[in-house]
């Protein structure tokens, strides 16, 4: 992560419109999303979002508080300064004539990347790593001629035992319990954060 970016990790309710609410809140506060990834967690009613925004610490703090006011946001944490593992997957289609291949294979080897597809004059390389590694990798293959790039956006979690988990209260699944949990979240939205 470059120093300008702040990385937010959050657990949100998994239903239509939530991504819109999250991205819209960030937009409304005049911030720009540089990377975003969403996917279900082990609990199908909960999604995890990892969002990178290009703001300073104080603005990120405001973003976290505003996002936590969204009823559907269950937990949120700014993990920029935590010890984290962050990964991004990139698929990169490069021109690969006969003469270039051995050099490309060396780069692929260094980055522990894979060849996902080969054609007569191009190949698709699959690579994953932290954002700066991805950037370096793309820089190195650029001279060969990049035809296409698809990046997944960063996913991240903190190292060690602690992490962004639902408490038992939030794992309650009956509608009444969900409502209680929502009310509890709302009460806590007065307080500062989470990510226990």
């Amino acid at each position: 992560m470059s120093t300008r970016h702040r990385l937010l990790s959050m657990l949100v309710e998994n239903h239509p419109g939530v991504l819109n609410k999250v991205s819209s809140m960030i937009r409304r506060r005049g911030m720009n999303i540089t990377s975003l990834s969403v996917g279900e967690t082990d609990d199908e009613s909960v999604s995890r979002m990892t969002v990178a925004i290009d703001v300073g610490r104080a603005q990120a703090d405001q973003a976290v508080k505003q996002l936590y006011k969204l009823i559907e946001v269950i937990k949120i944490s700014d993990i920029t300064e935590d010890p984290i593992i962050d990964r991004e997957l990139v698929l990169c289609k490069v021109t690969a004539g006969r003469g270039d291949r051995s050099e490309l294979l060396q780069i692929i080897d260094i980055f522990k990347a894979k060849i996902a597809d080969v054609a007569t004059d191009s190949m698709v390389i699959e690579m994953s790593g932290a954002e700066d590694q991805v950037e370096t990798f793309l820089e190195l293959v650029r001279p060969f001629g990049i035809k296409e790039v698809a990046r997944s956006g960063t996913v991240a979690m903190t190292r060690g035992r602690e992490g962004l988990r639902l408490s038992a209260k939030h794992q309650a699944r009956t509608p009444a319990q969900q409502d209680l949990a929502a009310a509890e979240r709302q009460r806590r939205s007065a307080g500062v954060l989470v990510g226990d």
Binding site: N20, K21, K65, Y68, I71, A176, D179, A183, A190, G191
Partner: protein
Amino acid sequence: MTGADRMCEAILGAGVGTVFGYPGGAIMPFYDALLRHPLRHVLVRHEANAGFAADGYARISGGVGVCVVTSGPGATNLATALASAFMDSVPVVAITGQVASHLVGTDAFQETDVTGLTLPVTKWSTVVRHADELSPALHRAFAVAVEGRPGPVLVDVCKDVQAGPAAPDGWEPVGQMCRGHRSVDGASLDAVAVLLRGAQRPVILAGHGVLQAGAEAALLRLAEHWKVPVATTLLGLGAFPEDHRLSLGMMGMHGDVQVNRTIDSADLLVAVGMRFDDRVTGDLSKYARNARVVHVDIDAAEMGKNVCPDVALVCDARTALEALVTLPAPHVDQAWPPSVPGSDNRAYLDTLDDTVFVAPQAITLLDRISSDDAIVVTDVGQHQMWEAQFYTHRPGRSLATSAGCGAMGYAVGAGMGAKLAAPHREVWVVCGDGGFQMSSCELATLAQEQLDLTVVVVNNGYLGMVRQWQERFFDRRYSFTRLTGPDLLQLAAAYGILGLRADTAAQADAALRQAQAHAGPCLVDLRVLAEDNVYPMIAPGRPLGEMLVRPGAPHGSERPGLVGDTL
């Protein structure tokens, strides 16, 4: 039992007896069910006013206000009212009809993405496309509207869900709602105590949060215990008795010189349930530069948003004030708050002769004759500021106004809501001739419901506040601020309600008294001085210290078209 019956039960279960709305295709099953439930429905003449009425109802009752409109244009018309409730943190539950679930996304007749449309102006919203989602959605809506920092929520219910059988589930009526109370931690309280010990020039800044937490008495106790003066925001009017010796009055852009001077030279601000809006602070970089700040608000996101507090208490105002009162009083300077000679904004009224009739005179008259528990509902503009300045606000929920959003056309609708929330209290709607013409269709509603309230139109033939800014900031180029209007006496007669008119202060006195004695709706046309300005004033973006005062006042020389001296 249908989904629509569930909706009626949910509203009744939340303790709401009156809803405001306007029917249409996609909400018809609900309207049919209304006939089967003991729920009063007020038919407005424009959906925005259903929203404003629900807002007024909520502000005065202290509970939730409910409005019901149809899909598409019904919901888009409602959006302004939701924006106003959102900016002022008013708990409103909006129920909108949506096209049948199988038609969603097909550009069906009167289909609009209502939750998308209202996303930035609601605290929470959801679309109900299946019967089993309905009860949890309603339950959640009523809880979310009042929990923590209150706000408007929206439940968009597909027509087939309303008409179809209600899903059997454990849905219980919400009944009494719990508030988002939190305790004050000891460490923060100790930190406040340290600041208090060092403070000689403290001020308490009270906002809407004090009223919403029902903390008026706690604030009074704290102010008297600490012997610290209290300034209020526009929405904080009523949080502290304005005839109290410690009351400073309203702060900010049109606050009294004395109030802003006091804040500007304070060494400690204890801000309670307010959010340091730009209309309150002026130039933030120069705001109360020598003051330490204790900020109490139930919304953590307000901490450090505009002003960085030395101590942040994320808590409802009442709990916080009750904790703060346990701290020893600061040693307040003898000469605090400072008195600014000749800064009395009211003094100029005494200099007027019978030939002029200005709006502040009318507000002063209203202040004199209105009952002690009267409710005043103001619209947006000059009259709103004059009401704030010249009316003596008593503690409690007695003022409703669109402050943060500044939505013209608010007052007549909100006044209907206020009257129905408190049928035994006197209600005065005060609006300008601009805002009145945005909402005058509601005279029909007043007549149909025979609501006993008075609409006072401060009629100067201008969009006065914009004209004032054109005078001051655009060299008197009055671009489209002159407006004509109907003959209000004939208009009142056309709607079958009492109409009265005044061209002088003496006539105004008689008209207001007659309106007060009249049972039923009444329209009073006050034809006041056309080109009058609200003073004092801080130009937008300027610091608190730079107040423009009325020409002729001892400390000012503001004249039209000239740059005035600043105090």
